[in-house]
Symmetry: C2
Subunit: 206 residues, 2 copies
């Protein structure tokens, strides 16, 4: 741990984990500003107040950092969606609405991580990509299960469920491209609107 | 013009414009593979079979190349959409379906340009960004006009038209993230499906 970091975290018992967190935060900024290829471990270290060597103590290389950022964002988003689903009953329409709203809300509130996840994923090698994509696939499956339930009960009329889910998830993934917290609508309002769009999209008949 | 390029285009009257085209093609590959910050004029030149100096004869810098690629993609997509609209009548639902299908079809058939347009736009400076965004805004306005017509005639029930259009356009922009020409559905089938999703999304009641 560099002296600066140690000083910053002198009151914390988990100083090492705090440094790790700060590195992840500055790495996300760096990936967002410069892209994966433009990002440097030195800049990430500087912004975190560490030496590059210190960053390498925590992360093997840039890919390792990007994987960790993308996996975390994906896991957090997944958790937010599952938590929202715990509060609703068995009705597929209500579950669909709740899942999409929670997913969209996370995206609107974590725009940098979600944007980096979409634009920088293609730079990861096959193995690293697999580690990130596994978590995404699980998330997608959750939406597919709900939508298939809706189709089975005759509430949704969409023909290709998997494609429809992908359309909804990419529509949500696009929120950071235009949504601003300072705009006329709150993140929650946008999330609720998107849940409505998603219900329409699958042909839900009220 | 480098000797290699001159040789490649010896039978063409528009040799200089051919080189320019080839540079734009290799630059798109380079931006896709390495991102804007990772891309180098030297790699772009090598892939085009030119010297870096030759690339600089045609484009001032990397930004100039990216702007030209993004503007062209945006203009071509816009033209494709307007051409499709010429073949349909005045019914807002038919116009909405035709516009979205054409827009989605262009995206499915030009995945690299569309993906680069979304992920690399943020690296352009304010002025260069403005040049690209102007063309996009015009495109967006076309969709807004159609959707507003649908709402006025009571065919569409969407409340925030502009946001709905953005949702539809980002849903289409996501196609390159998952669609493969070698997959079970053709680009045209995906485009038609997406037009159906977009009609549902705006609450079109048949």
């Amino acid at each position: 741990m560099c002296a600066y970091c140690a000083g910053m975290n002198s009151r914390s018992n988990g100083a090492s984990s705090s440094i790790r967190e700060r590195i992840l935060e500055t790495a996300l900024d760096e990936f967002y500003e410069c892209g994966f290829h433009g990002a440097t471990m030195r800049n990430i270290a500087n912004a975190a107040g560490c030496s590059a060597a210190n960053v390498y103590n925590h992360f093997e290389n840039k890919s390792e950092l990007l994987v960790e950022i993308l996996r975390r964002a994906s896991d957090e988003q997944f958790t937010a969606t599952r938590n929202a689903l715990r509060k609703v009953g068995d009705d597929p329409a209500e579950r669909w609405r709740a899942a999409v709203a929670a997913h969209a809300l996370y995206t609107a509130r974590n725009p940098r991580a979600c944007l980096v996840a979409n634009s920088e994923l293609r730079y990861l090698g096959p193995l690293d990509r697999k580690r990130v994509v596994g978590s995404r696939d699980a998330q997608e499956q959750l939406f597919v299960d709900i939508a298939e339930g809706g189709v089975e009960q005759g509430l949704f009329t969409i023909e290709r469920v998997h494609q429809g889910v992908t359309a909804v998830l990419t529509m949500c993934a696009g929120i950071p491209l235009w949504f601003r917290e300072s705009g006329p609508l709150s993140a929650q309002e946008v999330a609720d609107d998107f849940a409505g769009y998603a219900l329409n999209l699958v042909g839900y008949s009220r």
